[in-house]
């Protein structure tokens, strides 16, 4: 797994506030710059979820349009646009996955998880930070079933109950795996995340 998308975001991390201000002024060039910074990262995330390049591109387009249309609610001085963009992208992708899989869509829940106001006070350069490299290494260290439950939660939007059904495991076992995986990740990330 390479760090290329994150490395691409490094050079732009410090300029988020200026970029957000330009997006709020409806500057199309700012949208182009936003895409240049986060387009590949967004596409990679969505493709990981939907596993179809054509659909992934459609959802990337939806994601950037959603950000473009909702950026007025974003605090240019406090917001971290990268994490917000990824949250929107993930929610678009998971919502698509649920709609095609006959699963219950939880659009209202997503509305609350990718709201711009929730992404203030997050470190603007977090996607290019040392933490990003640490979490990759931490995921690699997890046991396979622990990594699987984290990925099912993040990339497929499954609750613990849904994971238990998918994996054919008792709910208690899955909860244990989730709890253990999160503890291990926190431990690996250490104070870096907690103190951020």
């Amino acid at each position: 797994m390479t760090l290329l998308p994150i490395l691409l975001a490094i050079r732009a991390a410090g300029a988020d506030a200026e970029l957000i201000a330009r997006l709020r002024r409806r500057d199309p060039h700012a949208l182009a710059e936003l895409y240049d910074r986060y387009g590949r990262l967004t596409y990679s995330l969505i493709l990981r979820v939907v596993r179809d390049s054509g659909i992934a591109e459609d959802l990337v387009q939806e994601t950037f349009l959603r950000v473009w249309n909702r950026v007025q609610a974003f605090d240019a001085q406090k917001g971290a646009i990268g994490p917000w963009l990824l949250a929107v992208a993930r929610n678009r992708a998971i919502d698509y996955l649920r709609s095609t899989g006959g699963r219950e869509r939880n659009t209202v829940e997503f509305e609350t998880t990718d709201h711009p106001a929730l992404h203030i006070d997050i470190e603007p350069g977090i996607l290019a930070s040392d933490k990003a490299r640490k979490i990759k290494a931490a995921l690699e260290k997890l046991a396979a079933h622990q990594r699987q439950v984290i990925e099912l939660a993040y990339f497929e939007g499954l609750s613990q109950t849904e994971m238990a059904e998918r994996m054919g495991q008792p709910l208690g076992t899955v909860k244990t795996w989730v709890r253990t995986a999160l503890k291990n990740l926190r431990d690996e990330l250490g104070a870096a995340v907690v103190s951020a």
Partner: protein, 246 residues
Amino acid sequence: MNCSELRDHYELYVLGVADEPERSEIRTHLDRGCEVCTAEMKRAREFAALLGGTAMPAEPSPKLRRRILASVGAEERRFGWAPFLAAATVLSLCAAVYFIGRERDFAQEASILRDQSRRQTIELTRLSEAFAILNGAETTVTSFGESQPKPKGKVFCNPALGVLLIASNLPQAPAGKAYEMWVISRSGQAVRAGMFQAEADGTALHIERRTLDMKTTGVVAVTLENEAGVDQPTTTPLIVASLALQ
């Protein structure tokens, strides 16, 4: 539930996949401004953001960027055929103007060449007729003007082909005038034998195609007349070639 019991559910809540009753419990804590839960939520959102960056890197198609920008009404400057088409159009117009001009030139040149060709054909025909008279077995030659300063030359008469006049030192006819050749019988009857002009160098070649009775033809003469021609000589002949009696 207290905050420590919710500890393993903040990340799932942020991802929108927390089960009940933990989801409602966290919401209740947040609604009442729980500081612990608020701080944990901030940490969980950072955790979620970091997870988003762990997907295997992939490359979208180059068209996607243009699609997105076009969807908000922003036109990207990009490579296209438009500048080349515009340049090609300008070049085509220039070429059209050039070739139309060239075509006009070619047409003019072709017209000139056709005229030259037509004149050369006429000249060749005349020369061919002249050679026929010159080479005719029955052709007789009569010189004129030998004792005069001008004009001088020869008259070739062939009974079947006609009369060939070759002259030099012939002055240019004044405006409205032309030289007229006469075939005059021995009895003095003059018959018109064609109009001609002298060349710029004073030479002239004139052919009158007709049959001749060499026994009755006595003189070939040339007078200066109105260019429309006259039925009988009105001026003193400049050229008089007296044919020998056959």
